[in-house]
Symmetry: C2
Subunit: 203 residues, 2 copies
């Protein structure tokens, strides 16, 4: 999508607002009145420019035949699902995205950034099962007891977080068959990708 002029942006916003208010797109005259233009042709030229740049579609010969190409309301809700890749951090690069899930951004109370598909049963006593989707919020604001998505060297894991001392961090599984991971920050590098704010099980 190409760049846009300040004036063109105003016109685009005006159209969006008009549709929200009335339910149908504005005429050239409507735009002029809204933005203070004195000739409908001013609107016309801007509309043409916006169409050329791909922001709107204009049905020729049709009154109010303006369609927003990227209506704000339509893209508000697509979150990527990322597989727990064996090596390397989970990234939002498209090759790691299984698919996307439509849901409101505030689905889990607080905002979140992506879904992570869980491998293994190390958190089963926390009700996190294999293939569940964890809603991950990218943040460094971690408190003891939070379920974090941590990367140690090249391995990504989901565990309870507990800071024992400024240098010692415990990553605790919720499954008696697994052992705590003790990490000495002076020896091992650890990167917190974020924390879990919700969960979805698809079946």
């Amino acid at each position: 999508m190409k760049e846009i002029t300040i004036q063109q942006n105003k016109v685009l916003d005006c159209i969006q607002e008009y549709i929200n208010k009335t339910g149908f797109p504005p005429t050239r005259a409507n735009i002029c009145k809204e933005l203070g233009f004195k000739s409908p042709n001013s609107a016309e030229t801007h509309l043409r420019a916006l169409e050329k740049k791909g922001f709107i579609r204009i049905e020729s010969g049709t009154s109010r035949g303006i369609t927003l190409v990227n209506p704000i309301g339509k893209e508000e809700s697509g979150f990527p699902i990322i597989g727990l890749v064996a090596a390397g951090s989970p990234t939002l690069a498209s090759e790691n995205i299984e698919k996307t899930v439509n849901c409101p951004p505030s689905f889990f109370g607080s905002s979140f950034d992506y879904f992570l598909r869980v491998k293994g049963l190390s958190m089963k006593d926390a009700g996190i099962m294999e293939d569940d989707l964890i809603a991950v919020k990218k943040t460094q604001d971690i408190r003891n007891g939070d379920i974090v998505i941590a990367r140690i060297e090249d391995e990504v894991t989901v565990k309870y977080f507990e800071r024992k001392s400024p240098e010692i961090v415990h990553l605790k599984p919720a499954n008696e068959d697994f052992n705590d991971i003790e990490i000495d920050l002076r020896e091992t590098e650890i990167h917190i990708e974020g924390k879990s704010v919700g969960l979805i099980r698809e079946n």
Copy 2:
């Protein structure tokens, strides 16, 4: 909202469809073409009737000035959350609805009808924890091993379903602290509300 004629309903649907397709409301001529009328006045009279009955609003003197009063698109995605009421079956009666959740109907692969908020830990080894939301599909198509929402007399419970014989059904918890419930259909009435097709944990 008053009653509506078959023809008027057709016109209403036509408007809805047109808006979905093009992004803006139809003209009288558009409606005529769509429904096979030969005079724009046919559309006009129906529009007037629909306006009088409160289904649409018409901006007088404005081209395509038709607004749907109850746009279908706004309510397409709200599923109710039902509390696990201690006594009585979970119903969709509004007094039992905590709130609603916006998500696509096909969120969990198959369709579903409502969310049930889980009480207790009887299914914790299946990863179902207290206060989780179970996506319930109302169906009688239950197979052994499905997680069902069952009502026994006046108590509602979530358990694994296993049919032992034509008359004997077991409802099995996923928690060693709980015991199987054996039900003899000749003695006890049981009603299957539906089965779980997914799960959401809000935090």
